[in-house]
């Protein structure tokens, strides 16, 4: 029963240069009533994925506030994770006909983990559906249980949702990333936006020489406009639609297109999409299709910073944090009005939204023709992220939630 040890010690004061010393001081003041009170976060993996990435930063920041935050990970066999993966896809609306044995497997592993984990903190935060059933061991009336749902529940498979809802309704509160992703629940539902870390390798400032070196490595011309979409090679990210939009823009501007995403070698569908992307690129040397290593934050950062315009032309999207990453770098963004994107891209204020290939192309042309407007959108986008989508805001929301639930104020 060993808690996850986060990789680094992170000093909250390092963020003062980004958000201001006053904000840091207020985080410390908000944390004071929580000193000596324990928080336990539970999820299903210590490495890989957005939740682990976020916990790897939130836990050390909370510890820097001298708060007692602990992070535990449940264990499970292949059968358990096969079931939870199927649940995950079904909650996103994929077809799935669960068998009674699937539910038994889910329950069995909850029981096994109940004996491994303390779950006795004043505030227990369960992330996503995998550890949801741990609430079975809840001592009556002693602590506060919160379910943090990172996925979109707007169109779930009803059988799977009914099963999971029998657990959810026993929690004290729930957290969703967007009102659109929430369900009608008998417990309070709070809105916590996902967040980026401005000091992480993916978002921190980079030396101009490094950015130039990355561009040279991928044979991207820094003197001509660069349009970039960073995303997996996934049909829902519509890379073929991005190429079509680029071809329309290319009639008016001598631009380049960068489509960069993780390697598709272990993802059969991704490999197929990548093949289709190469086919659509049709040997155009100004279309750079980059298969980045699984973890290449500095390269992603450099490509975003070098871009003239960042595109996120998704057909469906979760929250789409790559948008916030681009906005943080003061980049003008043209994105689809799907999922959590309109929360980040407020049309005409912090970026431009589009609903089609043609619309995407038009907005890109508009911004390339009006660089001052593009720069202003980028500036405001940066402020929007600073105010709403930084990890320090996420920490503040957790502190506020615990203060509200714990009646300390």
């Amino acid at each position: 029963m060993t808690a996850v040890q986060t990789a680094n010690r992170i000093c909250l004061d390092d963020y003062a240069a980004v958000i201001g010393a006053g904000e840091i001081e207020e985080l410390r003041i908000l944390a004071r009533p929580l000193l000596g009170r324990r928080v336990e976060m539970v999820n299903s993996t210590a490495v890989g994925g957005g939740v682990a990435e976020m916990l790897n930063r939130i836990i050390p920041l909370a510890q820097d506030l001298r708060l007692s935050f602990r992070w535990d990970v449940i264990t499970g066999g292949e059968d358990f994770f096969a079931v939870t993966k199927a649940f995950h896809n079904a909650l996103h609306g994929a077809p799935y006909h669960p068998q009674p044995r699937d539910f038994e497997i889910f329950r069995e592993y909850q029981q096994r983990n109940l004996h491994r984990l303390p779950l006795d903190a004043e505030f227990v935060v369960i992330h996503d559906p995998q550890p949801l059933g741990l609430i079975d061991d809840r001592p009556p009336g002693k602590n506060q249980w919160v379910w943090r749902c990172h996925i979109d529940l707007s169109h779930p498979n009803s059988v799977v949702w009914d099963f999971l809802n029998s657990y959810v309704s026993r929690y004290d509160a729930s957290i969703f990333s967007s009102p659109e992703f929430a369900r009608q629940l008998p417990i309070p539902q709070y809105l916590f936006y996902p967040a980026i870390d401005p000091l992480s390798e993916k978002n921190r400032e980079l030396p101009a020489e490094f950015i130039a070196e990355v561009l040279a490595r991928y044979q991207i011309d820094p003197l001509r406009p660069i349009l970039t979409q960073i995303s997996r090679f996934d049909r829902l990210k519509d890379p073929l639609g991005v190429i079509r939009a680029y071809r329309i823009v290319k009639r008016y501007f001598d631009c380049q297109l960068v489509l960069a995403g993780g390697s598709a070698c272990d993802d059969p569908e991704g490999a197929q999409v990548l093949k289709e992307v190469h086919h659509a690129a049709d040997g155009d040397s100004d279309i750079k299709v980059l298969e980045l290593p699984a973890w290449a934050p500095l390269e992603v950062n450099a490509l975003q910073r070098a871009s003239s315009i960042v595109i996120q032309k998704s057909l469906r999207e979760g929250f789409g944090l790559t948008v916030s990453e681009a906005l943080w770098k003061k980049k003008p963004v043209v994105a689809s009005a799907v999922g959590g994107i309109p929360t980040q891209v407020i049309h005409n204020h912090t970026g431009l939204l589009a609903h089609s290939v043609e619309g995407t192309a038009y907005q890109i042309r508009f911004l390339l023709s009006h660089p001052q407007i593009a720069a202003r959108l980028g500036e405001r986008g940066h402020e929007h992220v600073k105010e709403n989508f930084l990890i320090t805001q996420n920490l503040k929301r957790y502190l506020t939630l615990f203060l509200a639930l714990g009646g300390a104020v």
């Binding site: 006053g22 908000l30 407020i346 005409n348 405001r380 509200a404």
Partner: protein
Amino acid sequence: METPQTPFNFFTVSYLTRIGNISAMTLSEFRAGLEHCSDASIFHHTFQTLSTHHFLTEGFSNDFAQWVLADANRDALAEQLAALDIRDYSSIAALRADLCMVVRDFCEQHPEFANQSTLEPFFFCESIEVTVPLGRAAKTLDEFREGVSHLSHSSFYFHFISSRLRLQLRTNDFSHWLADGLGLMTLAENVNRIDVYTNTLDSAREKLLRLVDRERRKHDGSADREPHLSR
């Protein structure tokens, strides 16, 4: 300048956003939502949005107007909703009544638009407020200036914008104390005139500090003539 009987106590505020159970896909549903949502919801989408979107100083007034513009595509209604200035309201009930009236009048005048589907739904949310004292207080104009200059956005917002509802007056915490505590009526009035819609929180604070500095210079210049002046 008078000596205040009570110091100005600085607070900070943090908000949780609670997702409500009301949403709207048409202007008719939106009108019903405005009528039935909680006071905390009206507050969230009008007062609180000035904090979370304070950096937008052109054409963004409140969440309702933005949704009507971007998702219902009804520019005239959006303009009317955006024109409602929260500084004119000292109660949520009065603000809600005017919001409802504007939408009701539009739906009655344009019944053809009332039940058209919007691009995206509007989700009524509400703000849960947690306030904590900062442990700092000001008894003089100098201390007040020092305190204001170090406030976070949320703290500045709490005292300058959301305080209007708490005080139930058409003023803010700063102006209230400057007038009642220090007797600086003109300064209080000038601070209260700073436009929260066309300024960011940062630029509003800069203007406030400039007004305070001007007042301090005035008293510095007359210090010899007014030796009793409290600083």
